[in-house]
């Protein structure tokens, strides 16, 4: 059997876990940069405050509820995986995927409404940032959902149970980003 590197003595943690945290670190810089740029623009342009009044706080709040609940199902999936229950872990991961799908559907409806009212990506700098930040986040939601489907498919057969924790960490970070996006785009008006 070929040896597979799955530990890192320097950091004292498995390769996959280290890799996910490196991904999280790089995403902090990406999203942090976008949010920092948004904050700079928001603080210096009063017109942005006027434009931000057109976002729907209740839709944003509902999406926050969806993501927080999906984070719960993701961590419960991790708990099941730690207990060796692959089928339960897979089921809970599928609940998390359901949350991702619901989030994207609600976001799609929201954007359809906003675009039909004339608030497009070229309407104003505020809306450019809005679609950029929320769009990059939504892409991460979609990617996370796809990966979770792959992991759920393996875990229900008892294969690579540790991957549940890894995708869980990624998913919680996606939720974390939205926790900051929500007040910036939907509450600070």
């Amino acid at each position: 059997m070929r040896p597979i590197a799955n530990t890192r003595s320097a950091s004292g943690m498995p390769t996959g876990l280290l890799a996910v945290w490196w991904v999280v670190g790089s995403e902090i810089v990406i999203f942090g940069g976008v949010l920092a740029a948004y904050i700079m623009g928001r603080l210096t342009h009063d017109a942005w405050a006027i434009q931000s009044a057109n976002t729907n706080t209740y839709i944003g709040a509902f999406n926050t509820f969806v993501l927080l609940t999906s984070s719960l199902t993701a961590v419960l999936a991790h708990q099941a995986a730690e207990e060796g229950n692959g089928k339960l872990a897979a089921k809970r991961l599928l609940y998390t995927v359901g949350g991702a799908v619901l989030f994207v559907c609600v976001k799609s409806f929201e954007w359809y409404t906003e675009i039909s009212h004339g608030f497009t990506i070229t309407s104003s700098p505020f809306w450019s940032f809005y679609y950029l930040a929320a769009g990059i986040h939504a892409l991460h939601v979609i990617a996370g959902g796809i990966i979770m489907l792959v992991v759920a498919n393996k875990v229900k057969k008892g294969i690579d149970m540790h991957h549940v924790e890894l995708i869980g960490i990624y998913w919680h970070f996606v939720d974390l980003v939205w926790i900051f996006l929500f007040p910036l785009l939907y509450i600070a008006k």
């Binding site: 950091s11 004292g12 943690m13 876990l17 280290l18 945290w21 490196w22 999280v24 670190g25 790089s26 902090i28 810089v29 942090g32 940069g33 920092a36 740029a37 904050i39 700079m40 623009g41 603080l43 210096t44 342009h45 009063d46 017109a47 706080t57 209740y58 709040a61 926050t64 509820f65 927080l68 609940t69 984070s71 719960l72 993701a74 961590v75 419960l76 991790h78 708990q79 730690e82 070229t122 104003s124 700098p125 869980g168 960490i169 919680h172 970070f173 939720d175 974390l176 926790i179 900051f180 929500f182 007040p183 509450i187 600070a188 008006k189």
Partner: protein, 130 residues
Amino acid sequence: MSEDGHHTNYVKIWAILMVLLFVSIIGPEFGIRWLTLFTAFGIACIKAYMVATKFMHIDKMPSFVSYIVVTCLVFMLLFFSAVAPDVMNDTGSNWVKPTWVAGTENDWVTVGGHMEDAGHGAEASHGESH
């Protein structure tokens, strides 16, 4: 999951997050600026801390993980502090921001200590797609 074998009550953590979410939505309804800032962003920081510690278990990870996260946060703050003085000021020691950079026609630009409408500035570009 905790090392002493006692399972964290994740549903309880989720319920607390829901309460915090509700408070952050209700806070701005009072129309008090400091209250809005606290309930929106202060509670966001609290929620983020709870997700990071209770769900991601970052406090139980090796310290290398904290180093990664803190380093990346520092780089983000470095970006902000390096760019903000340029972006957020309209004038400096030897420069004045052109109006087409400063903002849209609806924004006011501070030039030489007095305010003027950006739309009537010397370098205002009409029809800018903003």
